[in-house]
């Protein structure tokens, strides 16, 4: 099995590791770097639980190899807010009960942050369209949609 040395900036710090060439980015983040907030719900690119921001854009870390992230800057759920704090999107999810088991949540947070950067005041339909690549089995999406609107308000205000 061949290994490759990669350097990735994760949540602001540069990490260099020698990894097997077939190692998935999700496994690299979770098991090599111990950033276990990124979850794997399907492993085949449908559920969106593994979504992270790679150079600012959402990516499914179960469909990407760690070596493909060489040189990239990655933000995972652990890096959204300073320690002990909550990002406005996290705050809105908390206030409006947009999570139950929380397994899907990191993926929804990433998708929401991308949406609100591109569209600071999305309509309900735009929110539903932007999130339709993330599956939640607990909430029925009702409060997630509300929380995204609330997050947009918080971010515009602040």
């Amino acid at each position: 099995m061949s290994t490759v040395e990669i350097t990735v900036t994760v949540n602001g710090s540069s990490r260099t590791r020698r990894v097997p060439d077939r190692l998935l980015l999700a496994d690299f983040l979770r098991h090599e770097l111990r950033l276990t907030g990124t979850h794997v719900g399907c492993g085949h690119g449908v559920c969106g639980a593994c979504t992270v921001l790679v150079d600012g854009a959402t990516m499914r870390s179960c469909l990407m190899l760690a070596v493909q992230a060489d040189g990239a800057s990655i933000t995972t759920v652990e890096g959204l807010a300073p320690p002990g704090g909550l990002h406005p999107v996290q705050q809105a999810f908390h206030e409006l009960h947009a999570l139950q088991c929380g397994f899907c949540t990191p993926g929804f947070l990433a998708s929401t942050i991308e949406l609100l950067r591109e569209n600071p005041d999305p309509s309900e339909t735009e929110i539903r369209e932007a999130l339709h690549g993330n599956i939640c089995r607990c909430t029925g999406y009702v409060n997630i949609v509300k929380a995204v609107r609330r997050a947009a308000e918080l971010m515009r205000a602040g």
Binding site: P20, R22, L23, R30, R34, L35, T36, G37, T38, H39, V40, G41, C42, G43, H44, V46, C47, A49, T76, V77, E78, L80, A81, L86, Q90, F93, H94, E95, H97, L99, Q100, C101, G102, F103, C104, T105, P106, L109, E124, I127, R128, E129, L131, H132, G133, N134, I135, C136, R137, C138, T139, G140, Y141, V142, N143, I144, V145
Partner: protein
Amino acid sequence: MDGPAPAGPFGARLPRKEDPRLLRGEARFLDDIEVPPGTLHAVFLRSPHAHARILGIDASGVRDIPGALVLTAADLPQLPPLRPDLPLPGFAVTERPLLCRDLVRFVGDCVAIVLAEDAYAAEDAAELVAVDYEPLPAIVTLEQALAEGAGSVHREAPDNVLFRNQVTTEGFDAAFAAAPHVFRETFVGSRVATVSLEPRGCLARHDPGLDETVLWSSTQVPHLVRNMLCEVLGLADTAVRVIAPDVGGGFGVKASVYPEEILAIAAARLLGRPVKWAGDRQDDFLSSSHARDMRFGVEMAMDADGVLAAIRIDVLANAGAYGGIPFGSSIEAGGGPRTFPGPYRFRHYAFRTRAVATHTTPSGPYRGVAAPIAFMAFEGMMDRAAAALGLTREEIRRRNLLDTADFPFVNASGIRYDIASHHRTLTKALALSEWEDFVLRRDADPDKIRGIGIACVTEQTGQGSTRYRARGLLRIPGIEAARLKMEPSGRATLAVSQTTQGQGHLTTFAQMAAEHLGIPPAHITVLEGDTAVSPFGSGTFASRSVVAAGGAVITAAEVIAKKMKRIAGHLLEADEADIVLRDGRAEVVGTGLSVTIEEVARTAYAMRPKGVPPGESFGLDTTEYWDQPFSSVSAAVHVAEVSIEKATGRVKVERYSIVHDCGRVVNPMIVDGQVHGAVVQGLGPALMERLVHDEHGQLLTTTLLDYTLPTALDVPDIAMEHIETPALDTKGGVKGMAEGGTIGAIPVLLSAINDALRPHGAWIHAIPVRAEQLLRIIRTQPGTPEG
């Protein structure tokens, strides 16, 4: 919400205590746990055949993978088979091997455990194990299983019936024969997978020095898992600890004890190394329980006014290859007739029900179990009867709904209803949904046909020990417990015999206890999911938590509150009866005299100058058990509006309204969230979800590409109101409620679709309703415009 806003923690929309760590990625789900050094990673080698003889297993190929090894049934000869059903009337006693030795009975049956240094190597090694199978004919469907000469899945059940029951109430035949109208139809459910977003998994460790065996498992039932590990492996329960870490959704699918959990412990003990299995999505589709491959044949007899006279049903449930543990093969077949009577007043009831074995993945509990299909059948018949008798759908229901004067009521299947407000719930739901104005919306879009549906449902929650004894499920104690321990600081820990998979127990139970203790919920830390920490109980399933464990929580809080009042009375030289606990203080009502709760707690632990009252014991620490004597029955009325695109047959849920009554609500925000999620778990099976097998029993839907789940685009906003009719049979007036959303969603969506199809003269009675089916009806049965 009826009534004034709550003053105390009980009833408050309190944001959840569990959220911050989940939001920050700090939770520890099974696959997040840092494994102990030396851990072996397991892959379960599963049968690719639905039915086959195993002629041989050649694992020599795995030598190419350093450190890999394979365990088959031959390596674990001491492992007995599971016996899911007990020798009770109506049950066939069959066996499930933990690892198949000679015969496999479904695609996914475990044949070997492949272990290696990491999960990638274990997958590689699994590819190198050669199993020689002789495929045999597979029984896939209910029809095949019940056909003459079908063959048998189990020798012990030659006719493939694993469980049967038949009941006819006294006077049924006469009542049925006398009724002027009889309506008949067969309703067919769709076989579905639960798809908790986190697949199952476990981590097993044995420490021979301490003689301690620990299993971390993504389970809803740690105590039941521990009991099974002890039963099967012959271990002492004092030496086995089961921990459910954060669990990414359960909904019933993780309420069974699975072979992988027992095999992981067996392998860890045999090899002297920790063993981890993190199941993937394909494992989950193949091996986690399937659900609701059911049919209900209904014969509904009514008098000339549309009043129910007698109902006969014939229920079939595809149980799959084996019964599960602890619910056995009767879970769905037993639950169907039990839940069927719903909110309606009728006494003459006859049913026959059978659980049927096939060469498919075992069936098990999933949100609402059989009830969503039972109500799809009942409510579907009510709609048909209304149409035939020229009554509106709301009127036929009004004529049959139980009224205040009927309570307490024992329904035709023997379930007691303490109190409910069915008529008020219906009236409110019609108003909330603007039912009367639907005529104005029906033809709003010329490219679409629209329909509106209604479903009145009940949900049996909070079952206790008597219910499980009556069902022959002796592995389910049915009781729950809570240990409340107030520390000298005046803060408390509350260890509950349950686990939480997103339901918000850490918040809800704290609110329930806080009401009695006079301290804020933030000062109560709820602990769950660890058999070494939590008192003994059954686990989280069947909407039992708030009733069964809540009963224990309230009892424990009452015991501690009483003791605090005695101590405070002693400190304040007042009568304990005059003491109230609130806002962190114990005060003598109307006097302004008070002490802090902390002062009371420190006194209880001998940390203050003054001691406890004479004869009083030290400490503020109690464990209380609760056995819910009667199930508590929640109710809801759902109204849904759908549109069907004429060009494509695509169904869109346009509006959705619910009026819900689950007694006193502890945290409305959490309750609303549970209902939302449950509705979508009904919307999926009604409109899109379906597990498909080919004729050889091969499961064709093993990814989320093939098995379509609802996304944010498929789901409407949900309007919801609560009626709070306090329960009489439970502690705190609460009722369970986590499944009613699913139970209502399937019938109401079918009702709405059938309403849209009325001009086309078609009735659909099977789910999922598919676009091509609707398109065919719209094209080939133009029908008449509704006059």
